[in-house]
Amino acid sequence: MTALLTVDGLVAGYNGVPVLDDVALTVPPASIVAVLGANGAGKTTLLRTVSGLIRPTAGRIVFDGHDLRDVPVERLVRLGIAHVPEGRGVVAELTVEENLRLGGLWRRDRADVRRAIAEVYDLFPPLAARRGHAGHQLSGGERQMLALGRALVARPRLLLLDEPSLGLAPRVTAQIMALLGELRDRTGLAVLLVEQNVRGALSVADRGVVMSLGRVVVATDAASLRADEDLRHAYLGF
């Protein structure tokens, strides 16, 4: 089965300072790949390079046959990739409804956008209850729901998720992780999940990629990662 996303030999950084050093990974369709590692390992930089916010200096990024290095950031969502950045990126000054509409503005099929928004409200009842509220009035968990919901309005095939558990209570994190698994199983969604919460990520992931200092040090199935104690101690802190 060909991978949905292939990253190969990726080198990237900021202002000449290299952060990613020859990174390679694949994301199969309908799977969750967790990207783990300490702060500064390059996990966020990896996602930002895949979505085009950072241009790589070397390497390839191929999504469903498209070379993403030629694709401007704005066109990514049309290809089927939704990136929920670090910090969620809920537009605080806009309402819940406006944030969701924003996720679907690029689409021609307005009826399907309305359906997708309705589905998001079904998925996240707290959002439905607060659709007229501004982003800054929501709790952390609600903002995460909104950021996810907004990404789902675009009906993506690949979700790039940067630390969704950040600042959230354990119960809410567990709900989010379970939801990702359910979306994968029900709709065939693929997720590249950057997480510091290793247990949470591995509880739902199919594969795990461990990064350290800009390189991939381990890439294996999630079950092996969960079981390998030395590995966990060395790179994941438990």
Partner: protein, 292 residues
């Protein structure tokens, strides 16, 4: 008393123009964090365009339309061709470029049209109508109120009810996230400049008939006054721009009426100084919502 009422209406009429112009400045500020120092010069260019079109066609309204369309075009051209290169740079660069544009535009206008003051027609009478023996408002004042109100309603509808308006607001509040959601942020910037320039062009058409005439520097004082109004209202607040514009219009009208019109430019600058010293954030300064 008569004088006070007259000065009040006159102040509100001028204030409406300052409000519109200040709104144009706030539009650009919110979208790009740039104060467009060339806003006044751009409005003069479109006023000259209206002048030429009216002279050639004999129709004021053809000239009026030419000014607004010209504003859209000029705003887009200047954003794409000039301001794009300083949008990410330190603010001073954008100010310098703006001032350079003023010199360029005014110089070119002087070369084409010469430096004499030309009479600039208004579509309706500028004599105040008397109500109960008291001169109140002129038809032109009513025209000014009407058009400025219409523009503000249209802009409000655009920003709150349309997809384009949503894109523009999102791009202004959160440009990076908006790009990830498929919004062409560069295109929204260009559109913002085009709209702001059209609003500035309208302000020019509304104020030049009431002054000394059409001249390359005709909008200089208006720019300073409207900028003061925008600062008074808080550069981030469209509502503040409107209130600030009306307030400044009233203040200047009273100064001009009771003290003398020579003092007016001084009064504008003094007001700006006071506001910047006492409440630089403006009357409507709110807490900026955090990025979440």
């Amino acid at each position: 008393m008569e004088r006070f009422v007259f000065l009040t209406f006159d102040g509100l009429s001028k204030g409406a123009v300052y409000a519109a112009f200040a709104l144009a400045l706030v539009l650009i500020w919110r979208g790009t964090r740039i104060v467009n120092f060339a806003q006044g010069a751009m409005a003069v260019v479109t006023a000259y365009a209206a002048y030429s079109v009216t002279a050639a066609s004999g129709s004021y309204w053809a000239g009026f339309a030419a000014a607004l369309l010209g504003g859209l075009l000029l705003g887009a051209l200047i954003e794409r061709g000039v301001m794009r290169f300083v949008e990410q740079a330190p603010h001073l660069n954008a100010v310098t470029v703006g001032l350079g544009l003023v010199l360029l535009l005014q110089g070119v206008l002087g070369m084409i049209y010469g430096n004499e003051y030309r009479p600039f027609a208004a579509p309706v009478g500028q004599e105040a109508l008397t109500v109960g023996g008291m001169p109140l408002v002129s038809p032109f004042d009513l025209f000014v109120f009407g058009t400025v109100l219409a523009v503000m309603v249209l802009l409000a509808l655009l920003f709150t009810r349309t997809a384009t308006g949503l894109r523009m607001r999102a791009a202004a509040f959160a440009p990076e996230v908006s790009r990830l959601l498929g919004v062409d942020v560069n295109a929204t910037l260009t559109l913002g400049w085009a709209l702001a320039a059209a609003v500035g062009a309208l302000a020019g058409m509304l104020v030049i008939p009431t002054g000394l005439g059409l001249h390359p520097t005709a909008m200089d004082l208006v720019f300073v006054t409207a900028f003061t109004a925008a600062v008074v209202g808080g550069l981030d607040s469209p509502a503040g721009a409107v209130v600030g514009g009306l307030a400044v219009g009233l203040v200047l009208s009273y100064v001009s009426g009771y003290i003398g019109s020579d003092v007016t430019p001084l009064a504008v600058l003094a007001l700006l100084l006071v506001v910047l010293l006492v409440r630089p954030g403006g009357l409507f300064a709110g807490v900026r919502a955090r990025r979440v």
